[in-house]
């Protein structure tokens, strides 16, 4: 224990500074524990000439667990990640996987045809391929030179 003779005020300013420093350190230590939070599920978007592919990571789910809806240029995916029955009464050591219902709406770069959609779900990765309707596809315009 350090003794500082700082007059008779009774307040040890060095101890105060030390405490302030410890608290600042604690503040910055915690900053790393709460990283940026994203929406769920994380998606990647790929664009082709006249089609677009959306891939999403949804481990533990399969085709029947996800609800996909398409409207004009918006794709919505909805579902629920459940946890095992026995896990509810167990003692937890570590809990990192997210659980619960999710609903995500993704705006697409152009309108898509809901009848020309192919979706596959493999190993927990959902892949939705959507085509542009015929009428919307960009057309090459010939320029008349003179």
């Amino acid at each position: 224990m350090q003794l500082t003779q700082i007059g008779r005020t009774g307040r040890d300013s060095f101890a105060e500074m030390r405490q302030l420093q410890t608290e600042m350190n604690r503040l910055f230590d915690n900053a790393g524990v709460f990283p940026a939070v994203q929406v769920y599920p994380p998606v990647n978007l790929w664009i082709g000439d006249s089609s677009v592919v959306v891939t999403a990571e949804l481990p533990g789910l399969s085709a029947e667990d996800v609800d996909l809806t398409i409207r004009e240029d918006v794709l919505t995916m909805r579902g629920e990640r459940r946890q095992a029955e026995e896990a509810e009464h167990a003692g937890w050591h570590r809990r990192e996987r997210p659980y619960g219902t999710f609903s995500r709406t993704i705006g697409l770069p152009f309108r898509v045809d809901p009848d020309q959609v192919q979706a596959k779900f493999e190993n927990g990765v959902l892949e939705v391929e959507m085509q542009r309707p015929e009428a919307d596809r960009p057309r090459k315009i010939a320029i008349n030179g003179k």
């Binding site: 399969s62 095992a84 937890w92 050591h93 570590r94 997210p98 619960g100 190993n123 927990g124």
Partner: protein, 134 residues
């Protein structure tokens, strides 16, 4: 009980945490749940994109290593315009306690999720002790 879900970004395994590898891909730490029931310890790891054949579970003495290899999806003719997750292999290392019966560990992999069911050794199971009213 329904709740809105949010998740944190995938955590990458830094080169300092693992040894040098010959393949130069990004390696992620899979999110893992570990819980304990009366006679089992269950470990569940999220490894989306990994097929059951590409999972490697290795137990050496008390060190458990889980690895998953992802085959890169080649989207020919497409440009990636938005990415919220990266594609890469998975790896994570755990140290098991003495209580696990190492010969009876069951591993199963479905839809990108690896489940390890580890039975506790007989000596470690909790025993109820009856109290006699004297």
């Amino acid at each position: 009980m329904a709740q809105e879900m949010t998740t944190t970004a995938k955590r990458e395994v830094t080169p300092a945490e693992r040894g040098e590898v010959t393949r130069s891909t990004v390696v992620y730490r899979p999110d893992t749940d570990i819980y304990e029931t009366e006679d089992h310890v269950v470990l569940i790891a999220d490894m989306p994109g990994v097929a059951p054949a590409d999972v490697d579970v290795n137990l050496e003495r008390r060190v458990l290593t889980i690895r998953g290899h992802v085959h890169r999806q080649a989207h020919d003719g497409y440009r990636r315009v938005h990415a919220e997750y990266g594609e890469g292999d998975y790896e994570r290392v755990f140290t098991l306690s003495e209580e696990i019966d190492r010969d009876r560990i069951e591993a199963s992999h479905k839809n990108g999720v690896l489940t390890l069911k580890m039975p506790k050794a007989e000596s470690a199971k909790t025993r109820k002790i009856t109290v006699k009213a004297a």
